[in-house]
Symmetry: C2
Subunit: 401 residues, 2 copies
């Protein structure tokens, strides 16, 4: 681990049990943690302008290297002086390595697969070969042959100019056996060395690098990985790969993995962002969480609500909302809840109007931001445990601060 480099500084301001409230200082400003990170997959948070995402309170978003690599390509973004300028985002930006998407092509399935619910993979995607050097795959855009290696990933991320780059790793799926996972994790460590070497020689001065801890559901592999990544000289650590088949297993894997990470490091949990999972992660001392779920749910007419019995979800496309004058969530400060009722939002969503996708995106991102902001306040005041309990009991995040 590098500490307090010019690239990145992380200050822990308060602790409450395992949870902590901190501030990440990047080349583009401050990020208060714990923080949820919205995805700007292809250079935009779906349906929202960059200014609006900042207006919702977000200080950090994530761009997908794989998608941006395929289109519009790193050189075009570099010509625009990087992804910040390209998309008009003035605050902090993290990019992933491209590994997750590439390997989900190879292993079949995407996020569900990593979480164990997909079917075993094979060659369903368009990955041509995986080797020590890197991964060759076909562009989903035009079928052309593309290659990603640790060096290519870092070079692309250098061109994107993110504040935090993630090292190139193999994201191991649930169905991978122990032997495959062990070998893959070791290769990920070798790839991390190559990433850091390339970055040290060629990377942007103010770009930080996070290493990714792999090891699947195996405690000893996670331990080895946490140690290897910590010793590699990274600016922060992320937990990647499969966390098990279900929530119980995920909690178990996180419970033994999180404490293996260096205490003072900023810690990123990759791809996890459901309300209860996020609170569990915060309790374990994890700081930032990116996830496609809140915006993906919005596209399918689902709003986040304080209803633990329904996984905190309200399906506006199902029947039953005709005539409902209730807002999605009483007291929610978002535009969807301030100006509209369930009747209208349900109609719009079933009619597949863009306005519905957008309003639900705004609601779900507001909900996640409120959740982490009030978690932060609770940590600061030493009431994180009771805050968590109340949210899990069905109170809205903003009523329990």
């Amino acid at each position: 681990m590098r500490r307090d480099s010019d690239r990145l500084r992380f200050e822990i301001e308060a602790r409450d049990g395992g949870a902590r409230a901190g501030v990440l200082y990047t080349a583009h400003g401050e990020v208060r943690t714990p923080a949820f990170i919205p995805l700007a997959t292809k250079g935009t948070v779906r349906g929202l302008e960059s200014e609006e995402v900042a207006g919702l309170g977000y200080e950090l978003i994530l761009g997908n290297t794989y998608h941006l690599f395929v289109s519009p390509g790193p050189d075009r973004i570099a010509d625009a002086d990087g992804l910040h300028e390209f998309m008009g985002w003035k605050r902090s930006l993290i990019t992933d390595s491209g590994g997750f998407q590439v390997f989900s092509l190879a292993h079949g399935g995407v996020a569900d697969e990593v979480k164990g619910s997909g079917r075993p993979g094979g060659d369903q995607g368009s990955v041509v070969s995986i080797g020590e050097e890197g991964v060759r795959f076909r562009s989903y855009k035009d079928g052309s042959s593309l290659f990603i290696s640790p060096e290519v990933s870092m070079e692309v991320q250098a061109k994107l100019g993110s504040d935090i780059a993630l090292a190139f790793d193999e994201c191991t799926p649930y169905h991978a056996d122990r032997e495959y996972t062990a070998k893959s994790t070791e290769r990920t460590h070798r790839w991390l060395e190559r990433c850091l070497k390339w970055h040290g020689e060629n990377g942007p001065e103010r770009q930080a690098v996070f290493g990714i801890v792999q090891g699947g559901v195996h405690e000893d592999l996670r331990r080895e990985s946490a140690q290897a990544v910590s010793e590699a000289g990274v600016d922060g650590l992320a937990i990647g790969g499969t966390l098990g088949r279900n929530k119980e297993e995920m909690r178990e894997v996180l419970a033994f993995t999180a404490p293996l990470l260096p205490e003072e490091a900023p810690k990123h949990l990759l791809g996890i962002g459901e309300v209860d999972d996020l609170l569990a992660g915060i309790a374990l001392g994890l700081d930032v969480f990116d996830c496609a779920v809140p915006t993906r749910l919005a596209r399918h007419g689902v709003a986040l609500v304080p209803d633990p019995g329904n996984r905190f979800r309200l399906d506006l496309r199902r029947a039953g909302w005709v005539g409902s004058r209730d807002s999605i969530v009483e007291g929610c400060p978002c535009a969807a809840c301030k100006y509209h009722d369930r009747d209208y939002l349900s109609y719009l969503s079933r009619a597949e109007e863009l306005t519905a996708v957008r309003l639900l995106c705004i609601h779900n991102l507001t909900y996640m931001h409120e959740l982490t902001t009030h978690a932060r306040t609770a940590i600061t005041s030493g009431s994180f445990h009771s805050y968590t309990r109340r949210v899990l009991d069905g109170e809205a995040p903003w009523t329990t601060a």
Copy 2:
């Protein structure tokens, strides 16, 4: 014509040649004219919240009775206290009669057909029968049989609670011959009487009714229609039906039709909203203009620009914008132009991202609002002719006020 009823008052504040600057006072406030009217087809301006449309400066939008009749249905909207409340729109609202969409089903084609560029129709749509009583058609949503008559149209519009309702008419297409057009126009007049009778007995007190002048491209029929509609006791007049095969014919038909309308009436030109056509309509004393084109173009990646040689259009999806650091239009006050360049907007639009549709909608609606706002200023200062010339020569609306 009714004059200065409780329903609607129209004051002409300034004249410049045939053009005039006025204010429409509806039950929901003032509408400064000349005005472009964005379409909230299905209860939302595609991709924009109602608050945002107001924020762009618009004081009047149009809801489509046909679409809202099919889904979510007038009773559901009435239960929400009308379309204003349903969609959260606090300013003035006009609804069309449903006739345009129903007849474009019957006559084949839609807007292009009315403008003469479509092919002759027949039974391509799902209209089952057209008769003196009304029109029977099949719902595009679930195939159920629906019926619209003058009384049904007015009843639906009463339930929508718009400030201005349009009388139910047959929108005659270009390919209709003189005899059909003459008979259809006479029927439209009988339908107008039925509309006004129903409305007088059952309509909302503060809802105004505009009658529609038909007659196709035939001067004598337009004259008869203008007289019949004027004498029927309407609150304003709209020009509907085909205006010819091309822009030249449209200008000719408008040139003889517009002067047939009562001087003091608010005058609505239906379905026309290209930059040059709108200026031509304003010069002829027309006051409000609704049109799907600006928002439809946005969905296809086309932005409005001061380029008369290209019909004021810039196609962001065509090649050639890679690396362009120019905004769509220099000096345009919209969010798309303020924060983004052609390079990014072109990429987003080709990637079919919702954010692109939305940003281009905002740009195109800003452009149309600037066009009419500055036209109004020019009329007030007696410089409308030179304003028009400069816009047609390629100056941006806001640089020529």
